[in-house]
């Protein structure tokens, strides 16, 4: 139990910045550049944690709480899901509800911290985040319901497994593929990737997530970036769990397989970001509602 807990946290803390590095590197290579080294995100985090912090005099403890909750949530949420064939350290029936609302909690605090600064930019970012997450949440829930229905389990640990591989040929196949697509889109939306948000343009008027953390600096900003990387890994794990080949039964081999799949997913995100432009902000809700409809459709197919 303790070893599994440790393995989970080590994988999450050690691997998550690498995913960001892989995405950036993929984008650089496609653009014809050599790109930053893969371990650049680790260096950036190290640099931020060694820095001092500037705090606006208008802010309160809420502003400091945002980044702390932002990193605590993915750490907790990671314990509820299996990393590939490595089972979840904690699980109970209905933990999927906790999983979804943990991220709701993190969002709540990020939005509060943004509003705490009193800046008009951050207010705009907070409004956008709140609107778009409202539209993204149902999709995640419905996707989980589809999985729960097929697997007959309400725990995240046993919901995934070899579900897709075993059921692709059955009547559940279509529902599962649709759900996989939904999970991938939600992962992009929740982690502020193109086409929803562009983590690279620092244009205060167009950003969603980045604009909310404009006032954070130093270690606090490091926590936010680290938390964001972990969130990407947790959401990415949902997708990976889905399409993973059957487990080998060997702990180290399983871990290696899982890591390889995760890195491939990061490269995939890099490819998506290289190949398309960001959506107009006004079109983002349309895509999110479309994704919700897709997930409902998966559910309807299941219930017919």
């Amino acid at each position: 139990m303790f070893i599994r807990l440790l393995l989970h946290l080590l994988l999450l803390a050690g691997l998550s910045p690498l995913l960001i590095g892989v995405i950036t590197r993929t984008k650089a290579i496609i653009a014809g550049r050599r790109g930053a080294p893969l371990w650049q995100p680790y260096r950036d985090l190290g640099k931020l944690f060694r820095k001092d912090m500037v705090l606006s005099s208008t802010t309160t403890w809420v502003f400091r709480a945002g980044p702390v909750v932002g990193i605590a949530v993915p750490l907790m949420a990671a314990l509820l899901i299996p990393f590939g064939a490595i089972g979840a350290p904690f699980s109970f029936s209905g933990d999927l509800v906790l999983f979804v609302y943990l991220f709701g909690l993190a969002r709540f605090f990020t939005v509060l911290a943004a509003l705490d600064t009193g800046s008009s930019f951050e207010g705009m970012g907070a409004a956008r985040e709140a609107t778009f997450s409202c539209l993204a949440e149902p999709t995640l829930f419905v996707a989980f319901i589809v999985l729960a229905r097929i697997s007959g389990s309400f725990t995240l640990d046993t919901m995934f497994g070899t579900l897709l591989a075993n059921n692709l040929q059955t009547v559940y196949g279509v529902s599962l593929v649709l759900t996989a697509i939904c999970l991938f889109i939600i992962m992009l939306a929740e982690n502020c990737r193109i086409p929803f948000d562009d983590p690279n343009t620092h244009l205060e008027l167009t950003m969603i997530h980045e604009v909310m953390v404009l006032d954070h600096s130093g270690p606090d900003f490091g926590l936010i970036l680290y938390g964001a990387a972990m969130k990407l890994m947790v959401m990415g794990t949902l997708v990976v769990n889905f399409v993973m080949p059957p487990a080998t039964g060997h702990l180290l081999l399983d871990a290696g397989l899982y890591v390889a799949a995760l890195l491939a997913l990061a490269a995939g995100i890099g490819l998506v970001e290289s190949g398309m432009a960001r959506l107009r902000l006004i079109k983002v809700p349309q895509l999110l509602i479309g994704t919700s409809l897709l997930s409902f459709f998966a559910l309807v197919l299941l219930l017919r």
Partner: protein, 506 residues
């Protein structure tokens, strides 16, 4: 009696030949020309003697193709603004008010333009202390009141490395009801530095009016000086100027498309165009040693020749970058996700473009056929070798598309000009400048029309040198493009205009 007088691009007139009209006659003359769809080029005042009343000069396009009309009057305190009837003059009248401390009656938008002190001392038009330098951006902004209306102020210090300017949005949720742009942070007083000139420093001042339009501004200045001295640059120099001007256009247009790609998060074109812009700048450097063309153009001709070896090297580089440029552009214009971001965003109606007097790329994207190279050509340009590049929709896509087509044209133009360089000298000697003369030089820079107008005094020195950068007109176009637009699309609209702050502030 003939009340107005016409001249051509690169032409001169003795000041004595321009009649000084009483203001009502001057006003009706301007309005009459505007009714016959003239385009205002410049409107400015000049105070010849310290105690005399400033004189007003208006330069508009004339009915006769290829010519301009000059009207002249005397500025008296408390007369009515022309702006309500000639909306294109709105900034010119604010500028005159700021420079000469004369407030116009009936001007609907009487605010400072560049936040500097009154030129001749004395009374300030807004009652500010004339002895102290005014604070930039301190003025009444237009405000929309309402419970759900909020105001977003951006700048003058921005998140990126760009010039300073203040943007104030009146927003209803994500929708922009009104944008007001307040500039003046870069004001260097260039027009005043030129008084009594030309000085030895004058070429440096002209070349840095807008650093990305070095060749354009310097060519316009050279046209003015050549007009004054009655010289024409030799054909080889004219061809080399055109090559440098088109290389400047290529570098900036390619850079702009790359910046648009970066803004919508389309990485391939953003990276390729960033590199290609460098290639075009390096071609200018290969010609004259400066990537921005500093020192290339001088009155009388050019300082650097393209001898056969250099000419061949430039042609080789050009042949190398052409396919890369086409590839990067077609990638951009063929991606559906990119088109989805550009089409229908930041629309300026043709009537608004006319009313604001938009010029250059922004005007051509609104369906207006205005190109100095076509309509007021100076060798080697003419209406045959410069096609009308016009798009109808006035949105971000149209502005990008005009750039793409101009890149295509410039690539061919530069190659042909390099292959057919006329033989001969590259400079012609200038004569001493005549006294009491007005001269006009217009150049189609990459952003649009650059107008330089010089008036000389009794000694043949500049008693007034007026510069109208395309950004002077086009910033109003950007404000108009944002009406009822999403605030998140502002950076994209801004890039699609890509205007100069220092060119406006001078």
């Amino acid at each position: 009696m003939k009340t107005t007088i016409d001249l051509v691009n690169g032409g001169r007139l003795p000041l004595a030949a321009i009649p000084v009209l009483p203001f009502p006659e001057f006003a009706s003359g301007v309005i009459d020309l505007m009714r016959h769809s003239a385009t205002p080029i410049a409107y400015f005042a000049d105070q010849a003697e310290p105690d005399g009343a400033p004189e007003l000069f208006a330069v508009l396009t004339a009915a006769e193709p290829g010519t301009f009309t000059v009207l002249r009057s005397r500025l008296e305190a408390g007369f009515n603004a022309l702006t309500p009837r000639v909306s294109q003059f709105h900034l010119f009248e604010r500028e005159i008010a700021e420079q000469y401390g004369i407030a116009f009656n009936d001007h609907p938008w009487m605010k400072p333009v560049r936040f500097h002190q009154v030129w001749q001392g004395g009374k300030d038009a807004w009652g500010r202390d004339p002895a102290r330098h005014p604070q930039p951006g301190v003025m009444d902004f237009f405000r929309v009141e309402g419970e759900e209306v909020h105001e977003v102020g951006v700048g003058p210090v921005h998140a990126g490395i760009i010039e300073p300017g203040h943007f104030r949005f009146q927003c209803f949720g994500e929708k922009v009801l009104h944008l007001e742009i307040s500039l003046g942070y870069q004001h260097r007083g260039i027009e005043r530095l030129l008084l009594g000139g030309p000085w030895p420093q004058t070429p440096s001042h002209i070349e840095t009016m807008a650093g990305d339009t070095t060749i354009g501004h310097m060519t316009a200045y050279s046209l003015v000086l050549e007009a004054l001295s009655g010289t024409t640059a030799p054909p080889r120099a004219q061809a080399l100027r055109a090559i440098a001007l088109e290389l400047e256009r290529l570098a900036n247009h390619v850079g702009d498309i790359g910046a648009l790609a970066g803004d919508v998060g389309f990485l391939p074109t953003a990276s390729y165009c960033g590199r290609l812009r460098g290639d075009y700048l390096n071609m200018t450097a290969a010609l004259c040693g400066s990537r921005f063309g500093r020192g290339m153009v001088r009155p009388g001709g050019v300082l650097f020749d393209a001898e056969p070896a250099r000419q061949q090297r430039l042609l080789h580089t050009l042949a190398d970058v052409v396919p890369n440029t086409r590839g990067a552009l077609s990638l951009f214009f063929e991606a559906p996700s990119v088109l989805g971001r550009l089409e229908g965003v930041g629309k300026v109606m043709t009537d608004d473009a006319l009313g604001l007097g938009l010029v250059g790329v922004a005007a051509r994207a609104c369906g207006l056929d205005c190109d100095t190279r076509r309509h007021y050509p100076v060798n080697p340009y003419n209406a045959e070798n410069v096609p009308a590049i016009i798009e109808a929709n006035g949105d971000v896509f149209s502005r990008a598309r005009v750039r793409q087509r101009e890149i295509e044209h410039a690539l061919t133009f530069v190659r042909q000009a390099l292959e057919n360089l006329p033989e001969g000298p590259i400079t012609a000697p200038l004569n001493s400048l005549p006294a009491d003369t007005l001269a006009l030089g217009l150049v189609e820079g990459w952003r649009g029309r650059l107008a330089h107008i010089a008036l000389t005094d009794g000694q043949g020195r500049f008693r007034r040198y007026k510069v109208v950068d395309p950004s002077f007109f086009n910033w109003s176009g950007l404000a108009m493009a944002l009406r009822d637009e999403q605030i998140s699309d502002f950076p994209l609209c801004n890039k699609s205009f890509n205007l100069s702050y220092c060119g406006f502030d001078l």
